[in-house]
């Protein structure tokens, strides 16, 4: 009684909301201003720790504020809008820098800051190794500044109360993503590989942002406001009058979503984004930033609910992406690339869910995915560190060095290639167990969080009977997602078996070593969340759905469907078993074959050319190069060489303007200046001279002549006076 009273009259912390943005900003400013001096004051190792602690504390405090907001929302679930300042005020158009506090935004804040804090802590340990390994320890500071900047931008994105402020955060996280993918900008293929990956991410996102911007412009024209509340209030009337406007807005927004959340056709940047340090992949390219698109659709649910056609397109894009990326993930060998395609696939699940109108299911999968995908990425980072350590160890041991040479592992060793791993279960026990939990959560094994969230999406897809253009698209979505779920379990089982089971395939894997606690503790916390997160939204209780219901009205509460759950669980188990048979039994059976005959992947001979298609990612990059980028580059070259250089520069500028001007001035100087101006001046001079010469003849020098003129003058004057 006391407790419930305390809760019902509990405190309200809504006015604290600007702090979720400002605390990370303060954190990055501190690191920016004193980071370099710390190295002088307290020494290298201590400075790194302090920088990491400052950044992590900033993220942690932001999380604390989010928790306080969450507590306040329990008593005041309607939330509030905290206006910080007037941002834009032009005529009747007015945009505030205002923070929206409601269950949806606070859910995002908790996820971003919570997972973000754990990844910050993990990075303290990880980046220490990473900067040493890459040979620039002073870049440690920069990493944490970017990370805090990312948290701040993401907070702006999720806490905005209007689309324009959301767009600021949207661009901010894109910038941070670019900066962090290119963190080792001088590394990578041919020394520019990472820069190219960063550029690719940025440009691909810009295409999406373009759609997003157009959506905001149309919104401004149609509604005269970009405020969530205003837009949603007017939306039904506008939809009734001119439905085309809402279709345009929602579809253009979808383009933004496909860019940020890596959906077909703009997903190509995400796998390349793995060039960034692993914590970045975990935080930005798996757990938080890429979910911005899902958040955007959920936030704009009023608009999407009014346009079933757009919903169908969103759902289909998500479902197709889910399946498409899952197939690619089955044939990748880079441990992070597999997870990247898995992320695209899981984002597809979320987008499909919000597209079907199952916003709670989508958001719940977003949170769940943040837990287990961050866990998997950080686990992968831990594995990479361990394998790098093993390789380093082998290189510096005389006996092992010879063995390395014999096995030809000394050159071009890739610590991210799962073919170079195996048997790590024994050397990195903690990492193995947490990774296993993450993998099972991803595969959707009950009762882990992935099962609950994914099953809710599948159940919604099965239950919804929406038909657009005569196609029961929810059924299509259900089938696509079920196949994708099956493949998900398969590829993650494959990865698990490749990395952790069997015998070590390289010395590096054999001598890999478990990481210190600073790396493994965040993993354990995330593993705990992945294990228990299912409790957030248990079937029939739906606490998470009810929580979101305060913001998203008329939410559909997904009914737990035992048939769907059984099918998906059975499929996941079958997939895992299949993976076991192929990648454990068959793989081990083939171990004794000579190297030349032994396939690197047992599926390669089974699937044949299809495996090749998967391995090469359907040649999407190549297709984009051929269809878009090469013609575009040719067009730019044409524009630059022919239009700009030859036409504008060589012809228009050099010939037409410069030569024409030269000719004109030559004509002016010879014809006009010399002939007319000079001619007049010379004529004046000559005439004066001649006149003077003629006049000079009067000056005889004879006094009497002068006297005569005086006399004559006198006479004339007198005559004049007399005759007047």
């Amino acid at each position: 009684m006391l407790l419930s009273e305390a809760i019902s009259s509990g405190p309200e912390f809504f006015s604290l909301v600007p702090l979720v943005v400002f605390i990370p900003v303060v954190g990055l400013l501190i690191n920016m201003l004193i980071g370099d001096r710390l190295y002088i004051w307290v020494g290298d190792r201590m400075a790194e720790k302090l920088i990491g602690i400052i950044a992590s504390t900033a993220a942690g405090l932001a999380f604390l504020v989010a928790v306080l907001l969450g507590i306040s929302l329990i008593n005041h679930p309607q939330g509030d809008v905290i206006v910080l300042l007037d941002w834009i005020s032009a005529g009747s158009f007015k945009v505030n820098w205002a923070f929206q506090v409601d269950t949806l935004s606070v859910t995002m804040m908790l996820t971003v800051a919570g997972v973000g804090t754990l990844i910050h802590i993990y990075s303290i340990g990880y980046m220490h190794e990473d900067v040493q390994h890459n040979g620039d320890p002073k870049r440690y500071k920069r990493f944490f500044i970017f990370m805090n900047l990312f948290i701040a931008s993401m907070m702006v994105l999720v806490s905005a109360d209007n689309y324009l402020m959301l767009f600021v955060g949207w661009e901010g996280v894109g910038l941070c993503s670019y900066l962090l993918i290119g963190f080792w900008y001088e590394k990578g293929k041919e020394g520019i590989g990472n820069s190219i990956a960063a550029k690719k991410a940025f440009i691909t996102n810009r295409i999406g942002d373009f759609g997003m911007l157009l959506a905001i412009f149309i919104m401004f024209i149609a509604f005269g406001s970009v405020n969530f509340t205003d837009v949603f209030e007017q939306a039904p009337a506008v939809a009734a009058a001119t439905p085309a406007i809402l279709i345009a807005i929602t579809i253009l927004m979808l383009i933004g979503v496909t860019g940020k959340s890596a959906q077909i056709p703009l997903f190509v940047w995400l796998p390349d984004a793995m060039a960034g340090p692993t914590p970045v992949s975990a935080l930005i390219h798996a757990a938080t930033m890429v979910t911005a698109g899902v958040y955007l659709v959920t936030r704009s649910y009023v608009l999407y609910d009014l346009v079933p056609e757009a919903q169908a397109i969103v759902a289909l894009v998500g479902a197709v992406t889910a399946l498409f990326a899952a197939t690619i993930a089955t044939a990748q060998f880079d441990i992070k690339k597999i997870l990247a395609y898995s992320t695209i696939s899981q984002l597809g699940f979320m987008v499909a869910a919000v597209g079907m109108g199952a916003y709670a299911a989508g958001m719940y999968h977003l949170v769940a995915h943040a837990f287990f995908k961050a866990l998997l990425f950080l686990g992968a980072g831990s594995v990479i560190l361990g394998v790098e350590y093993g390789h380093h160890h082998a290189e510096h041991d005389e006996r092992l060095k010879r063995e390395l040479k014999k096995r030809r592992e000394d050159k071009d060793f890739d610590p991210q290639d799962i073919r170079n791993m195996g048997g790590i279960r024994k050397t990195m026990k903690t990492t193995f167990w947490v990774y296993l939990i993450g993998a099972l959560a991803l595969a959707g094994i009950p009762p882990l969080v992935g099962f609950v969230s994914k099953d809710e999406i599948l159940a919604e897809a099965d239950n919804f009977n929406k038909t657009i253009f005569g196609i029961p698209f929810t059924d299509v979505v259900y089938i696509l997602l079920t196949i994708a779920a099956f493949l998900t379990a398969f590829y993650i089982g494959r990865q698990l078996l490749y990395v952790f089971f069997g015998k070590s395939r390289t010395l590096a894997a054999e001598y890999s070593k478990e990481n210190p606690l600073i790396v493994t503790i965040p993993l354990m916390i995330l593993a705990f969340l992945s294990l228990m997160g299912g409790g957030l939204n248990l079937p029939r209780i739906h606490s998470f759905t009810h929580w979101l219901e305060h913001t998203l009205h008329h939410l559909h509460i997904g009914e737990f469907d035992i048939q769907v759950a059984l099918i998906s669980t059975a499929l996941a188990l079958i997939a895992l078993t299949l993976a076991y048979f192929i990648y454990y039994r068959r793989y081990n059976a083939q171990r004794d074959l000579p190297t030349a005959e032994r396939p690197d992947d047992p599926m390669r001979p089974i699937l044949g050319p299809i495996f090749k298609v998967f391995e090469n990612k359907y040649w999407v990059d190549e297709i984009y190069w051929t269809i878009f980028i090469n013609p575009y580059v040719s067009l730019s070259k044409f524009l630059a060489d022919v239009i700009d250089w030859r036409f504008w520069h060589d012809w228009f500028h050099d010939v037409l303007i410069v030569r024409g001007y030269n000719r004109f001035t030559t004509w002016l100087s010879t014809m006009f200046d010399l002939k007319v101006i000079d001619g007049f001046a010379n004529w004046l001079a000559i005439t004066t001279e001649r006149f003077a010469a003629w006049l000079r003849r009067t000056e005889t020098g004879y006094v009497r002549n002068y006297a005569l003129s005086v006399f004559l003058g006198l006479v004339i004057i007198l005559v004049y006076l007399l005759l007047r």
């Binding site: 006049l695 000079r696 009067t698 000056e699 005889t700 020098g701 004879y702 006094v703 009497r704 006297a707 005569l708 006399f711």
Partner: protein, 100 residues
């Protein structure tokens, strides 16, 4: 009493002679004398009219003219002497340095 017309006629003749002398003669001294002749023709008229109108101002004016003429002669003769010393001549046609 001699009528004024006679004075006028005489004065005109004298003045014309003086002017012609200045314009025609080349000897500087003759020119000087011609100038004096013109001055005196004027003086004659002053005096004649002073007598006619019984006013003293004309006569007084004549005295001034004489004084100025005397001073002029002093300066003029000095100039002529200086010119003669450089040119060995007082022919005004040879003094033509003002020629343009």
């Amino acid at each position: 009493m001699v009528p004024i017309e006679y004075y006028l006629g005489l004065s005109a003749v004298l003045f014309t002679l003086g002017a012609l002398g200045v314009l025609i003669r080349r000897n500087a001294i003759i020119i000087f004398m011609s100038i004096e002749l013109m001055l005196n023709s004027a003086n004659l008229l002053f005096v004649a009219f002073a007598r006619l109108y019984e006013s003293m101002s004309g006569q007084i004016f004549v005295f001034f003219v004489m004084a100025v003429a005397a001073a002029e002669v002093a300066v003029g003769l000095a100039l002529i002497v200086a010119i003669f010393r450089t040119k060995q001549s007082i022919d005004v046609d040879e003094i033509n340095m003002l020629k343009g």
